[in-house]
């Protein structure tokens, strides 16, 4: 009789259906491509372009998600090496290099590479990226012109400074800019696809996406409970339905509602994702997709990851029911995601209102004992702010950080045993600072 391996993270049952729904997007896109329907490769755009593409009948896959898929399936390394052989510097984004290697191989074969997991990404008619957060993504899609003849479009997201964002008129000007941008994008899409926007459908989709994120936000708020009902592993699995909104949003809505019900039930019955919950931690930014089992080993030590990855969290909800123009609703929703913490940040003289400041707020609200920071050797976006986060958490809240360098795709850069050795010592540090916090009258 084979003894079943004990699981130390109590995964949410409703999570599996959400993941399966996302995995289907690859097959959907391949089928659409075979049927002659438009398909796109799309960068995460935080719901700015997604509803527009969907309303125009474009099936979408997300190469960033596919980078994680390839890393988990163990095929990314070959694509990374192919990217290097094509002349791309090895310090560039792991997702990008995975995608470039994939595209180069697809061009060479004239078809989807046979080793591609989940059926691969079909040849697109459009590359859609976003200026949000990251230079790599619009430069990466531009560079794909070596392998693909699909046009590239970049949707803009304003990146105001914390102080500048609070100036008179700044908020509304940024919304006007975004709406203007989206109109230009729609005009481009109509030319490209030879068809008109279905505005009624767009209106419906915009509302559906906003509602999905409202529920998703509510779920994450429940994680403040002790013990935390949902681990970061489940967050990373479930975030995909929000960030990569492929398929029918009504189905996603139902699945998130199921998730909400399960999390509420856990809170009511004080069921934690990790038992006993000895330490509550936050995680920044993206995890080592190729080594997620490390979180099980940490859970065995009583570590519960209760909040994580600012960029992949939904916006703080705002009432947009009075906004009749779907483009304006989309713009306000996405802008809220980006700037939702800015006003609080300014009050605390913190000027990196996205990425860095939210962790301060979260460490307090989720009562974190420590932070695990994962600088990515190939990603400036996920790493720029981590030294700052480490400093602010410790100096302002007496919350220490464990730093473990790695990469989202390249497994050779992550030191699993070394990280676990550090973890053991880190518990003493967390205990020490817990004492200091209490001594200073902090509530956890």
């Amino acid at each position: 009789m084979v003894e079943e391996k004990k699981k130390f993270i109590n995964r949410l049952k409703s999570m599996y259906a959400l993941r399966a729904n996302i995995d289907k997007m690859y097959a959907r896109t391949v089928e659409a491509s075979k049927a002659g329907n438009p398909t796109a490769w799309c960068a995460v755009n935080w719901w700015e372009a997604d509803p527009i593409l969907k309303a125009m009948g474009v099936e979408v896959v997300y190469p960033e998600n596919y980078g994680a898929v390839c890393a988990s399936a163990g095929v990314a390394q070959d694509y990374l090496e192919r990217s290097a052989a094509e002349g791309f510097p090895t310090y560039l984004c792991g997702y990008a290099r995975n995608c470039i290697g994939y595209a180069a191989r697809m061009k060479e074969l004239g078809e989807i590479p046979p080793e591609a997991p989940l059926g691969g990404m079909a040849r697109p008619v459009l590359l859609l990226n976003s200026s949000a957060l990251c230079d790599a993504r619009y430069k990466w899609f531009q560079s794909l012109g070596r392998y693909l003849d699909a046009p590239v479009w970049t949707v803009e997201l304003p990146h105001p400074g914390v102080k500048e964002s609070q100036a008179d008129g700044a908020h509304e000007q940024n919304i006007r800019f975004m709406v203007g941008e989206l109109k230009e994008f729609i005009a481009f899409l109509e030319r490209l696809l030879g068809k008109k926007m279905d505005w009624a459908r767009l209106d419906e989709l915009a509302s559906a996406f906003i509602e999905v994120n409202r529920i998703w936000y509510e779920i994450n708020e429940l994680r403040k409970a002790r013990p935390c009902p949902m681990h970061s592993r489940d967050f990373w699995t479930c975030m995909t339905a929000s960030l990569y909104p492929s398929g029918d949003p009504k189905e996603s809505l139902k699945l998130y509602r199921d998730l909400l019900a399960e999390v509420k039930e856990r809170v009511a019955n004080k069921i934690g994702a990790v038992a006993p919950e000895k330490y509550r931690l936050l995680f920044a930014e993206l995890p080592p997709w190729h080594d997620l089992k490390i979180f099980d080993e940490m859970a065995e030590r009583g570590w519960s990851f209760v909040v994580e990855s600012w960029a992949y969290h939904p916006p703080k909800p705002i009432d947009l029911s009075h906004v009749s123009d779907p483009l304006e609703r989309v713009a306000r929703h996405t802008y809220r995601w980006f700037t939702g913490y800015f006003a609080n940040a300014l009050q605390e003289d913190e000027y990196m209102g996205y990425f860095a400041y939210p962790y301060l707020e979260w460490a307090r609200d989720y009562q974190c004992d420590g932070a695990m920071l994962h600088p990515l050797l190939s990603c400036r976006t996920a790493t720029n702010h981590l030294v700052l986060v480490q400093d602010r958490l410790l100096s302002k809240l007496k919350v220490p950080s464990l730093v473990a360098e790695g990469d989202i795709v390249d497994f050779k850069t992550f030191d699993h045993p070394g990280t676990m050795r550090k973890a053991e010592a880190f518990e003493e540090i967390m205990d020490h600072y817990r004492g200091l916090r209490r001594g200073e009258g902090l509530p956890w």
Partner: protein, 397 residues
């Protein structure tokens, strides 16, 4: 005071003066401070300097220092980001720029944006403003930038207590356009074979320019151009005439390494090189519109995304796309009679790094040999690069 600068009792002119300022960048700024002028630091080429000049503020270009080991910045910025930006922040933290009254930053790149926010947290200054320069050349982006510049104007007026009238701004634009024209005149001196001025000397002059008020910079340029035209001891003729492309080049070290070999660097497409100077700001009815157009559209820099060139079937034509993005380099190569290109990026520079394979395709397509160097903004990195450059020079003969 305009024209000549007195430094430690010694008056220098032309190239000697440029060299002196290159080696002692803050000396003029400290004098101006003592005279009651306000000095605002800025990073890269996207802060709109005309608006500072128009309000009698002195712009000062913040740079790194290849010779100074980075230590203090390690506590604010990780090691896997642009070493130039890390160095610039490090110098700020160490007090090298303690004469600044303020800072103007812009979204030059993703790390440059974070750099501005981190500076604001750790280095307090009376005035700091961040311009959220858009990423594309879309019509909505151009209009948005003009509005952002109007906001910027408001903060400058509050800081100085002075009104920035359109006429003052136009006058400043003319002065900066004059500087751009003079720099292009300076670059014309690199067209003969041998060039009349060395690449290292050009870097010294350009670093001096961003360390002086614009009117003094223009006077310096006039002196340098006159001096270079008259002298007889310029660079020697060498077989290779190179164009240097890529990330920031703010010291003479890299070019000195190349020119120490059988090559003259006769043209560049870099910051602090030609990028800021090769197009003028148009004098529009509303000067902010002309400035927005210039800083977003006219400046050729891979940080700004330009839409794909499409064929009749709405497909991307790779070669047409490369031509629209890099065609100006072909013009440079022809006008400066270039026979080889060195592509260089600082390690962790994403913006330039993604350009490299496509740009190599383009240069090879138009028959220009090229090589790619990646380095980490340190003198130690230059020795192995020397061997690579040597091999490249042998290939191009």
């Amino acid at each position: 005071m305009t024209g000549n600068i007195r430094v430690a009792g010694e008056q220098k002119q032309g190239l000697a003066r440029a060299g002196q300022i290159y080696h002692d960048r803050d000396i003029r700024m400290r004098q101006l401070k003592a005279e009651g002028r306000k000095v605002l630091g800025y990073l890269d080429i996207y802060p709109v300097l005309e608006m500072l000049t128009a309000l009698d503020l002195v712009p000062f270009g913040i740079l790194g220092d290849i010779k100074e080991p980075i230590s203090r910045a390690d506590a604010c910025l990780p090691t896997i980001v642009c070493p130039f930006l890390r160095s610039a922040l490090d110098l700020g933290l160490k007090g090298r720029y303690d004469f600044l009254d303020g800072l103007v930053a812009a979204h030059t790149c993703e790390v440059g944006e974070k750099w501005a926010h981190i500076w604001r947290i750790y280095i307090d200054l009376p005035y700091i403003h961040y311009i959220d320069t858009p990423h594309t050349t879309h019509q909505s982006a151009r209009e948005h930038l003009a509005v952002l510049l109007s906001d910027f104007q408001g903060t400058l007026e509050s800081f100085t207590g002075a009104k920035l009238t359109p006429e003052r701004l136009r006058r400043a634009i003319r002065m900066h356009n004059e500087q751009r024209a003079l720099v292009r005149g300076l670059y014309d001196l690199r067209k003969p074979d041998p060039p009349l001025i060395a690449g290292t000397e050009v870097v010294q002059v350009l670093v001096a320019l961003i360390s002086l008020p614009v009117e003094e910079g223009n006077e310096l340029l006039r002196q340098v151009i006159d001096e270079v035209k008259q002298r007889h001891d310029g660079p020697k003729k060498k077989p290779a005439r190179l164009l240097l492309w890529g990330s920031v080049v703010d010291s003479t070290d890299l070019i000195a390494m190349i020119e120490d070999l059988e090559a003259n660097v006769v043209m560049d497409d870099t910051f602090v090189g030609s990028r800021a100077y090769f197009s003028d700001v148009k004098l529009t009815d509303d000067p902010l519109e002309g400035l927005a157009e210039h800083y977003l559209v006219d400046i050729r820099n891979p940080r700004t995304f330009r839409e794909t060139a499409l064929d009749e079937a709405n497909r991307k034509d790779y070669w047409a796309d490369l031509e629209s993005r890099h065609g100006y380099l072909k013009d440079y190569a022809r006008e400066w009679n270039v026979n080889g290109v060195i592509l260089q990026t600082l390690r962790y520079c994403d913006i330039q790094g993604y350009e490299v394979p496509g740009l190599k395709d383009y240069l090879e397509h138009i028959g220009l040999p090229c090589t790619y160097l990646e380095w980490n903004y340190s003198q130690a990195a230059l020795s192995p690069l020397r061997t690579r450059v040597q091999a490249f020079l042998e290939v191009i003969g």
